[in-house]
């Protein structure tokens, strides 16, 4: 089977290496290599040290770790929502990496899926779950194989099973494959999918931490979030807090895409300057083109103009202050020669295709947004259409079960607002065509 060119060029200072410690290590995916680098010692520390669930949760809380899937919700707090006591609980890993621009989770699997498994075991111990799932994208054929292999190894080594490392802690893990639906990356959509239904998000309340998979308390965590947990347990919350900013602690995998010289997955501390990342770490744009805009957190993040990129730092607060979001840390670089109207049409096509069709504003709105932006592209637009797009998108926001409509509204509001002049050119084309005709 032809394998991807695994020359992942992570050119970064050594002190940032938490998740990417195994980068460049030969045979990195094996259990031996992982153990050599301290693998499963965090789990051992918890189980042998008989740490209580609260202690584990408190360490994670103290570390300031926030969900790396996009929303950035504090992880320790999320675990704390799970009702204490007996009863079936579930832990699910969200490996449905579908946000355009994002390819960090699969990189963790490529390095070593045991990071994820150990993280999951620790999380499962903290919330008292005896069963967990890894929900993988169906298209990730290589990653599925790597994860399957790792789970098998973990079972064989006694890290999974009825009696984990002889401690009496019981935990089983299974893989579950999606089948091509972006919405299954939403936690309740993922739960629906795992229940064998359409991946339609569920109404909240009740929240999944109380009533999730099959009505039982369920925690859904991103791969990156869980994979970093063993390091935090090993080195302590303070060590992790040393990285990043005060409110955005730790490091994060940033994945850059678009026409840049050195694309790839980079582990950087939060608060890292965006411009330095694009121009120094990634070598700038191919052919020395000028930057027009950046989508900083995956397709659903509102765009930033080149001017806004100048002094931007990559952390939750700075992006939020600029009206955008860190999201999954997927930086999409748009060069000067690309029309923003076409970018909008491309993004709207994605959101229209991926809307689950449950809530009316999103189901009808995404289709409408695509029709309008396509109309403008085809020269059928008229002055004010770009405002209408922004208005319709604004009316979809915050009015649906999940945040998919907000995601669609991100680009649909920001592009017409920040690049209105580009739309005018399309309207002009229409009027000049009429003039000739």
């Amino acid at each position: 089977m032809p394998v991807m060119n695994s020359a992942y060029n992570g050119r970064q200072p050594n002190d940032f290496k938490i998740l990417t410690e195994l980068e460049g290590v030969p045979n990195s995916r094996s259990l031996e290599v992982y153990k050599k680098h301290g693998g499963y010692s965090a789990l051992e520390k918890i189980l042998k040290g008989k740490m209580s669930q609260e202690e584990v949760i408190n360490i994670v809380k103290a570390s300031g770790l926030r969900g790396r899937g996009g929303a950035g919700f504090p992880t320790g707090m999320k675990w704390g929502f799970v009702p204490k006591g007996e009863g079936e609980k579930y832990l699910i890993t969200n490996f449905d990496e579908g946000e355009p621009g994002t390819y960090k989770d699969r990189y963790i699997a490529e390095l070593n899926a045991h990071m994820l498994i150990e993280g999951k075991l620790i999380a499962a111990y903290a919330i008292g779950a005896s069963k967990s799932y890894i929900y993988l994208r169906g298209e990730f054929y290589d990653e599925i194989a790597w994860c399957e292999q790792a789970v098998k190894e973990a079972y064989a080594a006694g890290y999974l099973g009825d009696n984990v490392m002889g401690s009496g802690f019981k935990h089983h893990m299974d893989l579950y494959l999606g089948a091509g639906a972006y919405i299954c990356g939403e936690e309740t959509g993922l739960i629906s999918s795992l229940e064998g239904k359409k991946g339609q998000p569920k109404l909240k309340p009740p929240f999944p931490a109380v009533k999730g998979y099959l009505g039982k308390p369920t925690i859904v965590n991103n791969v990156e979030t869980l994979a970093v947990v063993p390091w935090i347990i090993r080195n302590g919350a303070d060590a992790y807090k040393k990285f990043g900013t005060e409110k955005s602690a730790g490091t994060k995998l940033f994945n850059i895409s678009g026409p840049v010289v050195r694309p790839g997955c980079y582990e950087l501390p939060l608060g890292y300057p965006l411009k330095r990342f694009i121009y120094e770490d990634c070598g700038g744009l191919i052919g020395g083109k000028k930057l027009k805009a950046v989508i900083p957190g995956g397709a659903s993040a509102p765009v930033l103009t080149a001017a806004e990129v100048e002094n931007m730092t990559m952390d939750y607060e700075a992006f939020a202050a600029a009206g955008s979001m860190l999201g999954s840390g997927a930086v999409i670089v748009i060069p000067e020669d690309v029309s923003m109207v076409e970018v909008l049409e491309n993004l709207m096509h994605f959101f229209k295709d991926e809307s689950c069709g449950q809530c009316t504003p999103c189901r009808e709105g995404t289709g409408w947004l695509l029709k309008m932006s396509r109309g403008i592209l085809n020269g059928e637009g008229q002055l004010g259409d770009e405002q209408k797009i922004a208005e319709v998108a604004g009316k979809m926001m915050g009015r649906t079960i999940c945040t998919f409509s907000d995601a669609a509204a991100g680009p649909a509001r920001s592009i017409p607002q920040k690049f209105a002049h580009e739309f005018l050119e399309y309207y002009k084309k229409k009027s000049s065509a009429h003039g000739q005709g």
Partner: protein, 493 residues
Amino acid sequence: MSNQVTLSINNQPVTVPAGSTIIEAAQKAGVSVPHFCWHPGLSIAGVCRFCMVKVEGMPKLQIACNTPATEGMKVDTLSDEVKETHKWALEFHLINHPLDCPICDQAGECELQNYYMKVGKYQAQMEDQKVLKPKALDVGDTLVLDTERCILCSRCVRFEDEVTKTSTLGIFNRGDQATIGTYPERKIKHNYSYNLADICPVGAFTAKDFRFKCRVWFLKETKTVCPGCSTGCSVNLFQNSSQREYYRLKPRHNAEVNGHWMCDTGRTMYEHLNASSRLASPQLEGQSISSAAAMQAVTDAAKGLAADKVALVLTAQFTNEEYVASLSALKSVLKSAPKVFIWRDESEKSDDFDGILFRGDRNPNTRGMMDVLKEHGITATVLKGDYAPLAAAAPELTLILAPEVESAYPNLAKAVGRFSELKKTVYFGNALTDSAKKLWLRIPVKTFAEKSGTFVNFNGVAQKLKANPAVFANVKGVDEYFGDLSRLAQSAV
């Protein structure tokens, strides 16, 4: 009390049980919150996003159907922000909704139309081609499905999953291609299918039975009771009053009896009400006579007969008042009670129950009839397939209160055949069948739609019938006929 919470809706305080949602509280307070997917008889879907209200202290608007009411909560449904949200929610519902109103049976009772008049009334902004989906699909003997009109509120899917547990419907595909449907070639078959047309807020499901028959704004509804079985569902009966034509029945919410639903069998209970299926005037040995003449004939026949030579055959399809009137009249005319028989169809399995509403006892007033007989101290003989006890009594005059809903008596013709072998039979009923023509005297009676009175259901719940104008002016109720009888007998004396 701790299990009650008090909140204010538009500054109007309302107290509801803890665990209620805002929309339930609003209903109690008499505040209408627009909604499509929420239905009090089904689980909460929260997908139409129409019922948004402002809750003080919450940054975003909340859906009223899934937000629990809490103590001291302040809800606002009238602010500009809420109104604007409703307007936009409607716009999203309408952009791909076809302009079918002129040919859609739902028009006039369509929630989309009503809300458009109430909260919408704007110029449509969408100028692009609407999404096209399959139309006028045959999904069973009772329903037509138009997937283009569907607003995907999922009420029907939930009804199938939760009430009938048949799960014949699903929503396929996704995004704006999402389409409601059955599995190809599989039809909706259960006995509650018309409820799907009822709960559909738009015209996606329409009843075949009512398809193109009449526009709903010509119909007037009467609150009455379904005569289809001993459950006695509360219903609304729809009549076009200018044509004196009945078109349909719909369930009326009654928590004690039927909740929100009724069965398809009950829906047919309008068919026997219309003139075309009824006897217009009394028939004495095949000759049309007036009601007065008919009752004179009965009075003459009863004259001088001993009480045990008169048989009264009852079916449990009449009101308590009619049983009382007939028994009292006969008692006064004959000086003592006649022999009373109860006629039940031989195929009847009175203990049958489908688990939802429909019962094997197809008579609406069995309990009421038994109560009246008990009050009068009468023990009746049941005729069920075996008519020998009646023949053995050798009555000179037999008065039969025949079933109004003849479809509940599949062996009616056979029974009538037996009755025709008796001496003088007076048949109070509307039968047009051939075997009935052999009877001595047939007298048409008012149907449940035309009389007031009481039905007592299997569970002892008494409900009143409400009278509509009679289809035939000369046709009377059983109580009126028997009133005539005792008056005529009196004046003869």
